[in-house]
């Protein structure tokens, strides 16, 4: 955990939320990070494993401590002679999660193959409410503004608190949505400037706009 980054985040939030308590802030920071991870898939994990003949379902779990897999982003197989994909192109394999943590292949493997799966992960609630052990250090700096907008939105949506503010809550909620989409896009493009200049405006994703 990046103590200094969390401290900066909490200090920023306390100045904007008069009367807020640190314990509540930490709860909402966790909730925001969890939502953000599930919406944006910015926290990824790549795992390699071998298939077994006639085994279609594989038990998968996040390698990061206190995290769980939310989505399968990519599953590829490599030429056994080139297991790192140096000279050959990997082939994408169809699979999905039938149950949480149970990755099911569309087709029954007929030979042992080296697979590389990329998963999106999110933090798992633990009994240590004020710690975020598995979240990468860089996460707090890279997404500081997004997390702040999300926490402000959530805190201001509380009922009957000194910092309750419906209008500002909606405002910060929209900024959180927008910044989450940008973060998702940046991650998808490998943080390359101009990797994809255009993306769907967040408004077009609403059902009422169809």
């Amino acid at each position: 955990m990046s103590d200094f980054a969390i401290q900066r985040l909490v200090t920023n939030l306390l100045t904007q939320l008069p009367g807020a308590l640190i314990g509540t802030l930490k709860l909402e920071i966790f909730n925001t990070v969890s939502t953000f991870c599930r919406k944006s898939n910015v926290w990824n994990e790549t795992q390699s494993f071998n298939t077994r003949v006639d085994k279609q379902v594989y038990e998968m779990s996040a390698e990061s401590p206190d995290a769980f897999i939310t989505q399968l982003l990519l599953l590829e197989t490599y030429d056994p002679a080139d297991p790192n994909g140096v000279v050959t192109m990997p082939t994408q394999i169809a699979a999905w999660f039938e149950e949480p943590n149970q990755l099911k292949f569309k087709n029954m493997p007929t030979e042992v193959q080296r697979m590389r799966a990329t998963f999106a992960v999110a933090p798992r609630p633990t009994d240590r409410m004020d710690q975020y052990p598995g979240i990468p250090e860089t996460f707090w700096d890279t997404y500081h503004d997004v997390i702040m907008e999300g926490v402000l939105s959530r805190m201001m949506a509380h009922a009957a608190k000194p910092y309750s503010n419906e209008r500002l809550g909606i405002f910060h909620g929209r900024r959180f949505e927008s910044m989450s989409s940008m973060a998702k896009n940046d991650k998808y493009n490998g943080f390359v400037r101009g990797g994809q200049n255009w993306s769907f405006p967040s408004d077009t994703a609403r059902r009422s706009s169809r």
């Binding site: 008069p18 009367g19 308590l21 314990g23 509540t24 709860l27 009957a160 608190k161 000194p162 910092y163």
Partner: protein, 117 residues
């Protein structure tokens, strides 16, 4: 820091109640009872204030342990003091204290739930 122990709450309440001369009009037990009731009220109005006690019983204090630290967030200690004073004045029959009592108990709620108070 002011208002961190049971004793400090008792003496601050006595000051506002103008009850600093022996024999006291309000006993230590009555003042501490009001403090305990304030904690119960606060946990209803602001459950986040006592989130560490959500799966256990709320902290209670006695006049027999005056040095105990009262677990009230620093930003809200004044509100608790107003409740203690207001609750003790409920026992008075004087008409003049009714408005003051009502004002203090309402101020307690207002300080916990809204900004301009």
């Amino acid at each position: 820091m002011a208002l961190s122990t049971v004793t400090q709450y008792i003496s601050a309440a006595r000051q506002l109640l103008q009850d600093e001369a022996i024999p006291y009009r309000y006993s230590d037990d009555d003042i501490v009872l009001a403090l305990n009731l304030a904690i119960g009220e606060a946990s209803r109005i602001r459950p986040d204030m006592f989130q560490d006690y959500m799966f256990t019983t709320l902290p209670t204090y006695t006049s027999g342990s005056p040095g105990d630290t009262v677990v009230v967030p620093a930003a809200y200690r004044m509100a608790f003091l107003y409740y203690i004073v207001g609750h003790n004045q409920l026992a008075d029959q004087e008409d003049t204290t009714d408005a003051r009592t009502s004002m203090l108990l309402n101020k307690f709620v207002a300080q916990l739930t809204s900004m301009p108070s």
